[in-house]
Amino acid sequence: MTAVYGVTQFEFDEENDLKNYDVWFCDLAHSSPALKPLFVLHDWLWPGYRAIQRAYEHLSVPTSTGWDIRLIDGYVYVSVMLTSDEQAKERSVVFRERIRPFIEDAAGLWDKRKFELMAAYDELKQSYGLTTYDSIHELSNIQMLELFDDFLQVVSLQWNVHMDYFIPVNYLYGSFETMCQDLLGIDHGHPLFARVMSGFDSKSFETNREIWKLGARVIELGLEDTFKQIEDAVLLLEALEESESGKIWLTQYRRFLDVYGWRCERMLEWATPTWLEKPALGIPSVKMAVTTKGVSTTDERRKNAYEDRIAAENELLSQVPAEQREWFHTLMKAAQVAPYFSEDHNYYCDLYIGALGRWITREIGRRFAEAGAIDDPEDVYFLVASDIQKTMIPMGRVRLQKRVEARKKEWQGYLATNPRPLLGNPAAMQEVVRKDPVLSPAFAIPKVREELKADLYGGGSAPGVVEGTARVIMTEAELGELQPGEILVAPGTSSQWTPAFEIVKGIVTDGGGALSHACIVAREYGIPAVTGTQQATQKIKTGDKVKVDGDLGIVFINR
């Protein structure tokens, strides 16, 4: 047994945990590269994990009482607490009643609650008089401590709402996929299925449109050469201050950041800066827009995806026996909320609250570094909540450098480790996925088909076939290196990567299933993708020629 970051809450008991669960699998899409302790312990795992159990319990999901979670070598592993047949039967009675409103109108229910979340974020800011980004500096230390605790309450609320929707909506998606398999022999990898699940607008496309508007403005103001010549984003921003047209552009960029800058570089991870805090972070995305002369294909491609979906829906329905068509249509509509929710919730559940967390914890880091409790403000992410509670008021009397050093070293060790995708019996995976319909769209289980002689097999895909040059991008910070027409290879993608979909030809990821960000957005943009290959970033090198076959969910590498 090894506690991670000295915390025993999620420690893996190899003997017992492999006896009680057949298989554990790594949540590569979310937890790779390794997350830092403050975020993973106090946001991602605890309230997040409890919210999953709460949602399973509230819904009374028949086949499972939820997921169990371990932190192994810095990576998050998940297994399913399967029920017995008798338990499943008993739970199904309540489940039937509780899942029903989600079949009736899941999208409507979500739209209501997402505004409840936005209101909670606003209230948190207002109750501390935080009207501007910099006003947080004016809070006293005790206010700062209270703000941190209150923020953790909002994090809990966020996770509850998040999982109250994620679980039923994914369950319905999984159920619909099962029905498609039973009735038509079509699974999520089938191009027709993928087409039926795309063509939905969401908050993340709105951001892309705005970024491309900024790109178009660069061209209009005659700043294209400046953007192309100055590689470093910070130097570019400085250079823009020098000219009148540059200043005009910067004013527009700041206005953009006020609304859309509430986004950490990586998902919710507080350890990564927001665009608001480091305006240079948005520049690679704007540069992508400039390479296309500011001409966005988002709307056109999305219109195509929408029209294609209507055609695909009709095609799918025509294959269903007439007397089955009505319920099939009803379930299809409910299942389609899953990809919409998956993209839309990014803004309300992930980006915004992640940015709030960054804002608050970074301020704590700043104060701690100033008082000498830590050496660098960014070291705050190697602390845990009890360290913050211990230090905030006796500021200057506490030294946390040793703790930081130990945990940083531990984290660096995890970072250098390639997590094992599965622990236990891989053969048990299919059974677990079959029993918990929430699981398969959320996590990738590669469909290995030796007869295809591919180099990588995906667990999710977006249709189409493409060949091109690979570029391996491990973190969002490297996105600027991406060239138009390349094949993006990454551990996983999230909202912050959406601009890249405008310029790449294909996508391959380590983690992520049929409802992962990479899959959903690739479908919206009509780009072939293979996700959940588990080892794309290990096997593929930048410059490799790769063939991405999204129809079959496989990848070939040619050196």
């Binding site: 039967k89 199904s92 039937r96 899942i99 009736e104 007439a322 007397e323 319920w327």
Partner: protein, 344 residues
């Protein structure tokens, strides 16, 4: 006193107590202009006059005065069988009153002349009035006036078959006297025939028509002896939604050797072939929609396609009645939930 013989165009759906349900519905179809084979009906009055004027009712009464059996006891069932045989013999040996006999012969003659033949085959079918529990009998492919009269009498006598005797005894109804109507309809030389539900019976979807069809006479479909072809048609259009062409092993058809209809093996080349064309199917459905509209509710309709003539003249309707056993239309959400809960 009521009339004994009614032409098909002289009856309507309110005449069930005069001529029986089947005749009333056929009369309604004919009067409304739907294509029904030519024929006539013998009313309940005819049954009553036969039973009373010939004294056969009295004889049955006498016979039953010494009959003692309990319709709820299985061990008494053979006694009903015995009584049925004896009573039916009495009925079928009794001559029909002369004027009724003559009227039936006249009407049959008119039917033959209209059809341009002699001894034109007819179906003699029972038509119980609403609320009667009996299960009466029908006879197909009857030819010649003597046999038609005998056929009518046999239908009357079927009101004394074992099942009908027991059913009346169990319900405390008069066992001796159970007036029913008789329909005499020209036989259709059916290429194919079958049934139509104007509401999808499986789903209860009122927007869909379900049709079953087999080669030959419709009895093979009604009797459930074969797996017929089945079709689902959307009323909107109408548009064919589904065709299920099954392997038909048997058909009910007139055996040239005996002149009687019987189950026979379907010729090899017809077994897997569709029994009706799309044109025929759509015409059947189109008329089905109109029949349903006319009667104001989902109908269970028997139809046939004549070997002669072309659509629409070739398609005739032999019976309609309110559709029973139509599934209550299920909420699609419940259907989806039912499927999701499978296996729990």
């Amino acid at each position: 006193m009521d009339k004994v013989i009614y032409g098909c165009d002289e009856m309507g759906q309110d005449d069930s107590e005069k001529v029986g349900k089947k005749c009333a519905n056929l009369g309604e179809l004919t009067s409304a202009g739907f294509r029904v084979p030519p024929g006539f009906a013998v009313s309940l009055e005819g049954y009553g006059r036969f039973m009373n004027e010939t004294g056969v009712r009295k004889r049955i009464d006498e016979y039953l005065s010494s009959f003692d059996a309990d319709p709820s006891r299985t061990s008494d069932m053979p006694r009903y069988e015995e009584a049925s045989v004896a009573i039916r013999e009495m009925v079928e040996e009794t001559p029909v009153p002369a004027d009724i006999d003559a009227d039936i012969r006249d009407r049959y003659q008119v039917l033959c002349e209209a059809a341009g033949g002699t001894d034109v085959p007819v179906a003699v079918r029972s038509a119980g009035p609403a609320s009667h529990p009996g299960q009466y009998e029908s006879y197909l492919h009857i030819r010649g006036a003597d046999d038609v009269v005998a056929g009518v009498r046999r239908v009357w006598s079927s009101s004394f078959n074992q099942r009908s005797l027991i059913a009346r005894a169990r319900q405390g109804l008069d066992v001796v006297f159970d007036p029913i109507g008789v329909a005499v309809l020209q036989m259709v030389d059916a290429k194919a025939a079958g049934v139509m539900f104007t509401t999808n019976p499986a789903s209860g979807d009122a927007g869909q028509i379900y049709i079953e069809s087999n080669w030959g006479l419709g009895e093979s479909v009604v009797g459930g002896e074969v797996t017929p072809d089945s079709f689902l048609v959307a009323k909107a259009g109408p548009e064919i939604l589904e065709r299920t062409i099954s392997e038909k092993k048997l058909w009910f058809v007139v055996d040239p050797a005996t002149g009687k209809p019987a189950y026979q093996e379907v010729p090899e080349d017809k077994k897997k072939a569709p029994t009706i064309t799309d044109e025929e199917l759509l015409e059947i459905a189109r008329v089905g929609i109109k029949i349903e509209e006319h009667f104001g509710g989902a109908q269970d309709i028997e139809w046939a396609v004549d070997v002669k003539g072309a659509v629409p003249e070739s398609i005739v309707f032999l019976q309609t009645r309110p559709a029973k056993h139509v599934a209550e239309k299920k909420d699609p959400i419940d259907q989806a939930l039912d499927l999701m809960m499978r296996g729990f």
